[in-house]
Amino acid sequence: MDDVEAIAALRDPVRRRLYEYVAAQDHEVSRNEAAEAMGVQRTLAAFHLDKLAEAGLLETTGRRLTGRSGPGAGRPAKLYRRAAAERVVSVPPRDYRTAAELLAEAAEEAELDERLWRAARLRGRELARDAGPVRGLDEAEALLARRGYEPVREQTPAGAVLRMRNCPFHVLSERFPPLVCGMNLALLEGAFEGSADLAPRMDPRPGWCCTVLAASKNNED
């Protein structure tokens, strides 16, 4: 299925909400869970989940939720998770990804890390200016969600942090990790410079964005 058709599959509002729900979970989602969360019939949820899987937007796995196996254990429950493939549609056709990869390759070869991070910090400040002042983790969470980071709140011994499930620069961050993850950190540093109670820092983990946003303890909302 091509990208246009895959994205067109999200046109139905129920289907789109289901997709967003599955994408936001840190576990694979069963039909029952999705139906309950959306407040729709299980058969309707199943129909839309399978349409999303057909479109290549979700991936499915089968697992017996009860842990039983062998005869009598029943059919394994179908579980859904977001597909790793990226879908982009541009009309008219544009190819910014190739341009970005070539620019990153040149920047890395020329060791322009510091220059790139300076530009990213300035851009972050601009974003903050447009968004207005951000205070506390709740407001930060909303801003990060709008930028596509899919933030999740996590309690750590040092206080609450927002950890990001999605890296908006995923492909580049895998090809040029120090350069691009450093760029992302600088962007967020710029964006939260004016928020005295919030501090982005690197805390990489496989499968997550490499940056977390920490609330300083005194001002935690």
Binding site: E114, P177, P178, C181, L185, R205, P206
Partner: protein
């Protein structure tokens, strides 16, 4: 026979020129990170081996003084990659210009070895030279242009045959 993936491990070697001697104050930030990062590596799934004693511009390396040498063995490209770029090690990579000179040449190489083999300095230097001379190939490559263990095994076998023929011709 080429064997399964688990018959081969991935070796990595890199060196970096220090901006100041290791005991200089400007290197304190790096020194503070070094032992915790080595401990982190050893606790990372897929880690196999690294030389025990730290190696700093020792005599067996042709890179001169004030050089930091790093080499280790991993089960796969993925496990090494996750450690290098998706652990606390990434922050050290991001800040490397504070402590190390700009690299004028290729300074890092990856290659497949039979599981259990422990590469020595000569082998590390040889693989880096190969990468510099010929660019990425199955016997010496980079993260961005990787080769599989099977491709490496075929290339090593060919290389061994050619070396033997050359030796026979010379003798």
């Amino acid at each position: 026979m080429l064997g399964g993936m688990s018959d081969f491990h991935l070796a990595q070697f890199n060196f970096a020129r220090l901006r100041a001697p290791l005991d200089a104050p400007e290197m304190a930030g790096f020194l503070a990170l070094r032992d915790p990062l080595n401990a982190l590596a050893e606790g990372t799934p897929g880690y196999v081996w690294r030389p025990v004693s730290p190696v700093e511009g020792a005599d067996e390396w042709p890179y001169g003084p004030d050089v930091l040498i790093n080499y280790s063995v991993w089960e796969s490209r993925e496990t090494l990659w996750e450690y290098a770029y998706r652990s606390g090690h990434l922050e050290a990579m991001r800040r490397r210009r504070e402590w190390f000179e700009r690299a004028a040449e290729v300074y890092q190489v990856l290659w497949w070895i039979p599981a259990g083999h422990r590469p020595g300095p000569d082998e590390c230097v040889e693989r880096l030279e190969l990468l510099r001379r010929e660019g990425p190939g199955p016997r010496a490559f980079t993260f961005r242009t990787p080769y599989t263990a099977a491709e490496a095994a075929r290339a090593e076998a060919e290389h061994a045959t050619i070396t033997q023929l050359d030796a026979a011709r010379a003798g």
